[in-house]
């Protein structure tokens, strides 16, 4: 399993963490944040020969409708230039071919075939497009190139087993010649929560990964949040993405912006021990109760820096995000060391139980009760999901 940085706003931090701290195995650039010409020169101070060999590009064709302010329209072939009247299918194929050609011209070894997203879960239309793209995209150039088709799964779709099954039937048809799929799925997240606790979401997304892998396709889990741990324990996903801001970890089918809702934030601390983010303000309580060690990440220089008493918290500081990138990539890689899903699952169950214990310790021993997103709202759902899938 490889960990790839899903790049967006402030991509330099992720690129630095790769080159300076050995975090991750490569990059997925997003068209919203990169112009067509960015790739001919240095990115974040790195020459293209240094990063293009380990890069992919998500041209984000699905993000053509409400992605104001981005750079999508700097690509002359991007569907954002097309009238949004739904009459895209014929011209759309041409744009998709141009998108593939663009990536090949850059010399990328892994091609992400972009696709449009249709409103209202119009799966039949999506599947027809999938089939047409499969027929029309020129064959790959030699064995070195891998071609991944984008599967854009909306929130209403992922919670419907019928939708997912129909999508999987189309995606695994005998005619399909893609090497794999780039899966961008909208999470089902409740208000004031960062990860889903929706069981259907977990079941169905796991079904997507397991079905595709079972049928011999490679899988890239795009815009993955840290609940990717669950899927990577239960299924051999080939690529898992890690991202900095929330919008790089929570995908939306029809818009792609960097605007963080909910006003200014001081930021969040990701704790490997809690398997959760803790709001910066609540770190002060933990510090006051002298129990930071319960949640602190070990062997993580960014964690050491930001947990320092003198650290001036700001969500737009690199250390805050690099702490997450290092911590989550370690968690993912440690799981992936185990070849057998049963062993990985057992290992993750141990981590989740450990996190529940850490929350208990904070409450019983230190009288600290973390709230809302910082609380252990998700761990019960995770444990249920893992244990129900655990094969003894």
């Amino acid at each position: 399993m490889k960990v790839f940085h899903q790049l967006g706003h402030n991509r330099k931090w992720a690129i630095d963490s790769y080159f300076e701290n050995a975090v991750g195995d490569g990059f997925i650039f997003g068209a919203y944040n990169c112009t067509e010409t960015d790739f001919v020169d240095k990115v974040a101070g790195k020459a293209k020969d240094d990063y293009l060999g380990v890069s992919m590009i998500d041209l984000q064709y699905y993000g053509s409708k409400r992605s104001d302010g981005g750079k999508l329209d700097t690509y002359e072939f991007h569907p954002t230039h097309m009238p949004q009247d739904g009459s895209t299918s014929v011209d759309g194929i041409g744009l998709i071919q141009k998108g593939v050609k663009f990536q090949r011209k850059l010399g990328l070894k892994s091609i992400i075939v972009p696709t449009m997203h249709y409103e209202a879960c119009d799966l039949k239309k999506c599947n027809r497009l999938l089939s047409t793209i499969n027929k029309e995209i020129p064959l790959k150039r030699g064995d070195e190139e891998k071609v991944y088709m984008t599967l854009c799964i909306p929130k209403d779709g992922i919670i419907s087993r019928e939708y997912v099954e129909e999508l999987m039937v189309a995606a695994t048809d005998m005619s399909i010649k893609f090497d794999g799929y780039y899966i961008a799925c909208e999470p089902v997240v409740e208000y004031k929560k960062k990860v889903s606790i929706d069981y259907k979401y977990y079941e169905n997304l796991l079904y997507v990964f397991q079905t595709l892998k079972g049928q011999g396709f490679e899988t890239i889990y795009a815009y993955a949040n840290w609940d990717a741990l669950l899927f990577s324990a239960l299924c051999d996903i080939d690529y898992i993405t890690i991202g900095t801001y929330e919008n790089l970890r929570n995908f939306s089918c029809d818009r792609f912006t960097e605007t963080l809702p909910g006003g200014p934030s001081k930021g969040w601390y990701f704790s490997e021990r809690l398997l959760n983010f803790v709001r910066a303000q609540e770190l002060d309580i933990l510090r006051h109760a002298d129990c930071l060690e319960v949640i602190a990440n070990s062997r993580n220089i960014f964690s050491d820096t930001i947990l320092d008493k003198q650290y001036s918290w700001n969500t737009h500081k690199p250390d805050v995000h690099k702490n997450y990138l290092l911590a989550i990539s370690r968690l993912l890689k440690n799981l992936a060391k185990e070849r057998e899903a049963t062993v990985r699952t057992k290992k993750l169950i141990g981590l989740v139980e450990g996190a529940r214990e850490a929350y208990k310790t904070l409450e019983s021993k230190h009288k600290v009760y973390l709230q809302e997103e910082s609380s252990n709202y998700h761990l019960g759902a995770w444990l249920t999901f893992l244990k129900r899938h655990q094969v003894e």
């Binding site: 099954e165 039937v169 005998m174 005619s175």
Partner: protein, 264 residues
């Protein structure tokens, strides 16, 4: 050789039939094995029960007349209100009748499944689904080579359908979940895969894996996770496990994957 029905004298004269050796009755037709112009042929007298189905089958055989492993039509002759098809005689036995020869013969069953797949793969690749693969619709020659017959209810993406969305033609004991609990959009080559796995199981054990009645089989399919009995040394087990899924997407996605667990 039993003769269940007589061929009418005027039909014999019209077709220049020298002798009728055998006859039997199907749901939609009478079949006579006869000698015509010194050659053994199969004469099928369609009873007009389903003219649309008959027309589809004739059209299919004509379209694929050079395809190996399916019947070859020699001539189609209208006779009174009926349609008569003269087909090449297939020298073999219906699998339903010779299924005992396959009992516990895993490799022999595997070889048969591989051979049927070789016949069907070009059709599957063209989007055509047989939809009624069962022992009755497979003729096995003396050397073990199969011929797949009765494409009357096949699904062809180029033709309009003869079935509604709420019904799928099937034979209860040899049908896939999406046929028994009708789901027209799920009918595909993977429906035929499921049916072939049912045939393989039936040949191996002499019984169907999920019951014999509509109620029994429906209950198994509705329950979801399909469980079937097998013996410890069953060489077909992996093949059956790979294929017996209610969810179509879980079944092998192409013939080579489908056959990967077949002992040969």
């Amino acid at each position: 050789m039993a003769i269940v029905h007589d061929m009418s004298q005027d039909l014999k004269e019209k077709l220049k039939i020298a002798a009728v050796h055998e006859s039997f009755e199907g749901g939609q037709k009478y079949v006579f094995i006869a000698t015509r112009n010194g050659v053994k042929v199969a004469v099928k007298v369609l009873r007009g029960v389903s003219p649309e189905r008959d027309a589809r089958e004739i059209e299919f055989y004509k379209k694929y007349q050079n395809h190996a492993g399916i019947p070859k039509i020699i001539e189609v002759v209208p006779h009174d209100d009926e349609l008569v098809i003269i087909e090449e005689y297939i020298d073999g036995e219906n699998l339903a009748k010779c299924c005992g020869d396959y009992k516990s013969q895993d490799r022999k069953i595997g070889k048969l499944i591989v051979d049927i797949c070789a016949i069907m793969t070009p059709f599957w690749e063209a989007g055509i689904v047989h939809r009624d693969l069962k022992p009755d619709n497979i003729i096995v020659s003396k050397d073990g080579a199969p011929t797949v017959i009765d494409f009357g209810i096949h699904k062809d993406p180029e033709n309009t359908t003869i079935t509604g969305t709420d019904q799928q033609p099937h034979t209860v004991r040899f049908c896939a979940p999406e046929q028994l609990i009708p789901n027209k959009t799920s009918i595909s080559y993977r429906t035929d895969f499921f049916c072939l796995a049912l045939i393989a199981y039936f040949l191996k054990y002499g019984v169907c894996p999920f019951g014999n009645t509509r109620d029994e089989i429906t209950a198994a399919y509705v329950a979801g996770a399909l469980k079937f009995k097998s013996d410890k040394n069953c060489a077909l087990k992996q093949f059956l496990t790979n294929t017996f899924h209610v969810d179509v997407a879980q079944r092998p996605r192409n013939a080579s994957r489908f056959l990967s667990g077949v002992p040969t």
